[in-house]
Symmetry: C2
Subunit: 250 residues, 2 copies
């Protein structure tokens, strides 16, 4: 097994970092990796907002309901960016809403995610810790305002990076035979039974942590999450439209 | 610079592979990497369809208008999968459409992309070639039917992997100073001027290829693409709804 894969198999979310300024050399190296990431049709329609202002960081931490986000050494927000390419077309006299269509949106969204994971892999290869931050979608409209995101942009995911100041255990995942299919999707006959071993494993994992908390089985976690989903977040598509994207629904 | 980053900075799309069966050992190693990929709230709501049936591969190549896809040694389609977690909740008596909301959709979409890029990085670390296939969205409804994708699933992106049988030049990308912002989005005053050096570089890159074709500058490519966008693909959101997701538009 090579070093890249060793790091990939050792991925954990790191929430506490050594408090020191992030190395600019490392930052620029990570951005070169971002730059070379695969991009749909070569259009490079995603961008990155680096949050360096401590006050802004704290505001984002509040949106995310996670105070430790205010202390992350390098905080990056990956965004859909069709604004730039739309401006490029307009400056050449093109009158078309092509950049505002949902195909363009999904291409950019994918570009932003690929770039985020590429940066995460680069950071982890340097023994840095990383954290994905999906909770930026708790208040997407507020976040767009805070970052002055213009039309045809949209915040996709946040990533925190720094030297880890904790060493959490590897979280067990369900076996890949439950997540891979050959040629055709096929759900298992008894979904709960197919996950019973994993449910046990998940409970023992939490038992091993240095807390008194024993967490739920995976299937209970899923049930709770689905039952208690956040209604505001489920309305996310309204914000996509507010940002100027055109749905073309039939 | 470490080996991981060396590989990342050397990313190219590979379209021609040595025609031989893909190693099962390597496949399983890639799937372990997929398994350990970061996942929103630990919900693991994405899956992979491996296309091994040669006839199915050709049908997908037809959808993509790229015949070489029919010859890719390992062809994977990464999908949104809220079907599994919805079934897990239902089997426990939970009556909630939480898995069908757009927040759940975007979380799964992100999960699928992160998994794809993690697998691509693993494959490239083993000196394999990779290809992202976004053109599966040319005919998303047909693709869903071909793969028997049930409600609450959606095809995100395809990835081809194999031993490369070509060695294309590294494609130049725009400088990251145009794609990164500090604390606030700020578009350049003159977008075409800001890209003039890159436009020149892009043209010389194509000049160096072993073809007589001299391609357009980047800004011309963008203008053409936006002007000639595919109207069917821009209606992609209809297919998301057809697959059972609920938009909750205001």
């Amino acid at each position: 097994m090579n070093e890249t894969i060793k790091h990939q198999l050792n991925h954990r979310s790191i929430r506490e970092f050594i408090e020191e300024p992030f190395s600019e050399t490392t930052y620029l190296e990570l951005m070169e990796v971002a730059r070379q990431t695969a991009t749909s049709s070569g259009l490079q329609a995603s961008s990155i907002i680096r949050i360096s202002d401590p006050e802004l960081k704290k505001k984002i931490a509040t949106i995310c309901h996670q105070e430790y986000i205010g202390r992350i050494p390098l905080l990056l927000i990956f965004i859909v960016d069709q604004h730039r390419n739309n401006a490029i077309a307009k400056a050449q006299g093109i009158i078309s809403d092509g950049a505002a269509g949902m195909d363009s949106f999904f291409q950019s969204f994918t570009d932003a995610c690929l770039m985020a994971q590429n940066v995460v892999n680069a950071a982890e290869s340097m023994d840095l810790g990383t954290l994905y931050i999906g909770s930026i979608h708790n208040e997407p409209t507020e976040l767009c305002a805070l970052l002055n995101l213009p039309p045809l942009t949209f915040p996709v995911v946040g990533v925190g990076i720094g030297k880890p100041n904790q060493n959490p255990a590897l979280k067990p995942r369900m076996p890949m035979r439950l997540r891979t299919f050959e040629n055709t999707y096929k759900a298992p006959d008894n979904i709960l039974e197919s996950l019973s071993d994993y449910d046990e494993l998940m409970q023992s994992y939490y038992d091993l942590r240095d807390t008194n908390r024993r967490l739920d089985s995976f299937t209970h976690q899923v049930a709770k999450r689905i039952n208690a989903h956040n209604p505001t977040r489920q309305e996310l598509l309204n914000v996509v439209r507010d940002q100027g994207f055109i749905f073309r629904l039939k």
